[in-house]
């Protein structure tokens, strides 16, 4: 498993204006009997990047849809810039831009035509809009292809289009729903850089949903961890990680040539093991607590004739934080490359389409 050591957040010491631009109170959304978003409350400060991290089906997208006036809350309230998302939805819409998971564009239109159409939905004077379109295209290096149909674009190019489409009205608040999903690493980096730049230079407040630890770690000032419709923790990346080390939890990465399922079960049965994940046929990742945890794990494995090839003590990652808080991993069908979690409470949460 790729272990990502989080660098110091580059916005860590950015002076945030201490004024809330988004206020969410007891927001709830149910679809028939299914509770998609379960009584969440949080504030977002002006100029802040807030990440909502969680598996598919955790309620991230539904939260974004409610905040962007696309879905009506079942209960609770949310305001953006002081405007209620239900009662004052038109005013809210003037302030926001949304980059949804589905790319909002017509494949048969060219890049410029798409931008012109969606721009015309906002009350922007024609010449101002034309100039803004050119600037935005330049900003994401799409000027060369401005007169090509977006249907012919690569996924990376389409996502850049998708992002600048949301910026046509120069929103104060930008919602991004899984902006790096399905992108190659290079395009993901480009999108992340762009989001950072936008936040830094325009003071745009950004809420981003993701199930990618990298996105959350690299981009967000604060991260809200969502699971089963609830926000289980909301803090900076650094503070979230302290949640683990703070309680004396250690992450062990074991490599064993003769790793058997019997050995995995043995380790799992240990009192000091909080969770056990089999990464692949030779690697085992264990969250342990207590002073004698190392010894107990080694003893248990040795007693079953397990041969330990190597053993590492890892830095906690957001993935580990998530595991610690929810008891399962951020995994879903959209991310098949990662190994299956062996520790599961309710089975894998399923993504929904709407």
């Amino acid at each position: 498993m790729l272990v990502y050591i989080a660098p110091k957040n580059i916005f860590g010491d950015f002076p945030l204006e201490n004024e809330s631009i988004i206020e969410v109170e007891n927001l709830t959304k149910t679809f028939n009997d299914f509770v998609a978003v379960d009584d969440i409350s949080f504030d977002v400060k002006k100029g802040e990047i807030l990440g909502l991290l969680g598996p598919n089906g955790a309620g991230k997208s539904t939260t974004l849809r409610m905040l962007s006036t696309l879905a009506r809350p079942t209960k609770g309230t949310a305001t953006i810039g002081g405007y209620d998302v239900v009662k004052n939805d038109t005013n809210v819409r003037k302030l926001i831009g949304i980059v949804s998971e589905k790319m909002i564009m017509y494949n048969r239109l060219t890049a410029r035509e798409n931008l012109r159409f969606f721009g015309s939905l906002f009350n922007i004077p024609k010449d101002v809009l034309a100039k803004r379109i050119e600037e935005l295209l330049e900003l994401v290096q799409l000027t060369k292809w401005k007169d090509s149909q977006v249907g012919t674009f690569s996924t990376g190019m389409r996502q850049r289009m998708n992002v600048i489409r949301a910026l046509l009205n120069l929103p104060q608040v930008l919602f991004l729903d899984e902006p790096t999903m399905g992108l190659d690493p290079q395009s993901s980096v480009e999108i992340r850089e762009f989001i950072k730049k936008l936040n830094r230079e325009n003071k745009t407040t950004i809420i981003i949903t993701t199930h990618m630890m990298v996105d959350a770690d690299l981009l967000c000032d604060r991260i809200g961890i969502m699971d089963h419709g609830k926000i289980v923790a909301l803090d900076t990346s650094t503070n979230l990680k302290k949640l683990i080390s703070g309680v004396g939890t250690t992450i062990l990465n074991l490599e064993m040539a003769n790793l058997t399922s019997e050995l995995v079960e043995t380790v799992r049965a240990l009192k000091c093991a909080d969770s056990v994940t089999q990464e692949n046929s030779t690697h085992l990742k264990i969250l342990v607590h207590g002073d004698e945890a190392f010894d107990s794990v080694i003893d248990a494995i040795r007693a079953k004739n397990g041969k330990i090839d190597s053993m590492e003590n890892l830095q906690p990652t957001l993935e580990d934080v998530f595991l610690h808080l929810t008891g399962h991993q951020v995994r879903d069908t959209a991310d098949q490359k990662m190994p299956m979690a062996t520790h599961r409470r309710f089975g894998a949460p399923q993504g929904r389409t709407r």
Binding site: L70, R93, I96, I98, K102, M105, Y106, F122
Partner: protein, 372 residues
Amino acid sequence: MVLLVLMPMFMMVMVGFIYPSNGSSMSNLPVALVNEDVGYGNSTIASQTFTMVLRQINDKTGIMVFSNASSVGDIKSMVQKGDIYGGIVVPSNFSTSILNGKQGTLIIVTDQSNPQISVTIQGVLSAVFDQMGTMLAQQKVQMLSPAVNANNSLAIVKPYKVQTEGVVGGNPSYFDFIAPGLMAMTVMMSVMTGLPVAISQEKEIGTLDGMMVAPINRLSIILGKTLGQTARGLIQGVLILVLSVGLFGVAIQGSILLVFGLLLLGIFSFVGLGIVITSFAKDQETAQMMMMTLMFPMMFLSGVFFPIQQMPWYMQDISKVLPLTYASEALRKVMVLGAGIPEITTELTVLIAFGVVMTAIAVPVFRRMMTR
């Protein structure tokens, strides 16, 4: 885009040629002729005269092509094989009956598997026999009474003659009956299938979200979609009109403006229904399925192809609640009978009422769908 033009053209040409506009285009139907007459007193003059006259008449009309057969059984097997469509049999006692002052019976064998041709042959033969019978009767009455001559003999044999006259001039064909309904149907079908596709598709690819996060009135989204579909429907309606007038010689008796007005009204009455269905359907496929389910009964129960009057009462009741019934009825009255607005007020009222009620339901339902 191609379908936009092709669909109505296809419908029109198909229906136009299946239901020919000038009644009896059937010709050269293969029919077997058998003369089994054994004669009366060595004379088969009666049957010979009959077949001769029959052939003479047929030579003029060219409806049938006669082939020979040896017996009734032979004819039946030829029909079964599909070689002929029917047969005419002169029975063995034909001359005997005629010469003894009785009616001469003739047997027509028909192909029951093809009712249309069967009916045509029966009709043609009945007409021929009737004509022959009349000629014979005229000859006989002339022989019976010196007061009867060639000029008044027909009036004595057949004192009544039927002459039909319609509300408008000319002789409207089945296609004239079909064309207005077909026009209404195509336009409405186009709107009903077009709307769910237009809206659900945008919902699926996400562009609907793009419009809804903009500070515009959400009603304008429906309005825009509706206008688009209306334009589409009108283009198709005009295309059908041009085709039916140009290709199939359908005459428009009433005002052409009224025809367009009715088409627009028809579309309006259907748009609401289309939006309601679209709002309830989860995706494009479901929406289309629901539309199809609604459209099929409408096609057959609205009197587009078959007159409502020939349906059983419960089906007639169903057809009375379908807007297409009124749209096609009104269009037919205007196009075929040259009716004006006063003659179609009932239809107009129903269509407007249906449209208003549907729109009133559609708007809130659609709004709710958008912020689900």
